[in-house]
């Protein structure tokens, strides 16, 4: 009995202390990590989406808020005068959340391009969603009102063979982007003018 009690107490105390420690480290490093993600993940994705931007979308980023959802958006004016925004949405992949940066033309509500940002998918399998542009390329030119589910779920997106879960995760992120856009577009337009 004594032995069992000591096992329970030691394990409980140990896990509780390490949980607390990790929470403290996470709080301390979070702002720095966000900065790094912006620099190494979001910025390259935005540059790829708005290849012909005439401004610096990263510098001009701002937050919009409506109905208790807050979103960081990256505004851009393209070479032909078109106003566009990029923002990130998340979907659940195979190894954790997948971040998807979506660039939308504000006049026509059409997607300009999308890119995968942060992910923890299997190297060489799910990670193709980021490296091989033929999958995310499907989204370019689609209207924000289309069905972004993969074909297996009745949508319009071809999944990557061998990486169905990742494909569905990216689709899910695109659907989340759809909701965000619907909810926040008026606010975005207001703030950009």
């Amino acid at each position: 009995m004594r032995e069992m009690l000591s096992m329970i107490v030691v394990l409980t105390v140990l896990t509780a202390v390490s949980g607390g420690l990790l929470a403290a480290v996470k709080v301390k490093t979070e702002p720095q990590i966000e900065e790094q993600v912006l620099k190494f993940q979001k910025a390259p994705a935005i540059k790829a989406i708005f290849a012909d931007a005439t401004n610096d979308p990263i510098k001009e980023r701002f937050n919009v808020k409506a109905e208790d959802t807050e979103l960081q958006v990256f505004p851009s004016t393209l070479a032909d005068g078109i106003k566009a925004v990029a923002f990130e949405a998340k979907g659940g992949g195979y190894g954790g959340p997948i971040g998807l940066m979506v660039g939308v033309n504000l006049d026509t509500d059409e997607i300009i391009a999308v890119r995968v940002t942060t992910h923890a998918e299997t190297p060489g399998i799910g990670s193709r969603a980021k490296e091989d542009l033929s999958f995310v390329g499907q989204f370019a030119g689609m209207s924000m009102a289309s069905n972004f589910d993969i074909k297996g779920k009745g949508g319009d997106i071809d999944a990557m063979s061998g990486a169905t879960v990742t494909s569905a995760g990216v689709s899910q992120a695109a659907v989340a982007a759809q909701d965000l856009y619907k909810k926040l577009k008026p606010e975005i337009v207001k703030q950009m003018n």
């Binding site: 096992m7 030691v10 394990l11 140990l14 390490s18 990790l22 990590i33 790094q36 620099k39 190494f40």
Partner: protein, 202 residues
Amino acid sequence: MAQSLVKEFTKGLWAEIPLFRLVLGLCPALAVTKTCENGIGMGMATTFVLLFSNILVSMLRNIIPTKVRIACYIVIIATFVTIVEFVMQAYTYELFLKLGIFIPLIVVNCVVLGRAEAFAGKNTVMLSAADGLGMGIGFTLALSSLGAVRELIGAGTLTIWGGTPLFTIGHGYIPFQFMVEGPGAFVGLGMMLCLMNLIGKK
């Protein structure tokens, strides 16, 4: 005391160097040593975890009940690995991207658990710290030398830190790409082991 401290520290550097003598921790060794830089980064992360998990395991060795010691060791190790993961994300993000999934996998690295079980659980804090540091530096040396060999043969470059090659073998050299791919890791490690055994025999 001082003498045994030195002994515990130096055994990890040569006589019991993890990768080549103990042949432990092969999973990260084979997977990340495509470049010398990756080897150094992975080695440093492992050294940090080894040092602190050894210290903590040794400090708690009289409190931890034997029946749940492995679970306790894993909790301690996993905590330090997660700290390393956060810190790497915050300060060396590019390296974090390259090492990717193999950072969290340090939790199940046999070198770390092996030292906790075989050494730190039975020895004093000072000796365990010396052992952890020595083993960690040895592991770093092994990973970076394997990485250097593979990178030199497989890509014709040598990268120490920061992503840009320190030097490149002249244009006439055609890289033997096999060496930076998965199977090349086994061949590279095998040749290094062979070399170590040859030297060790004398």
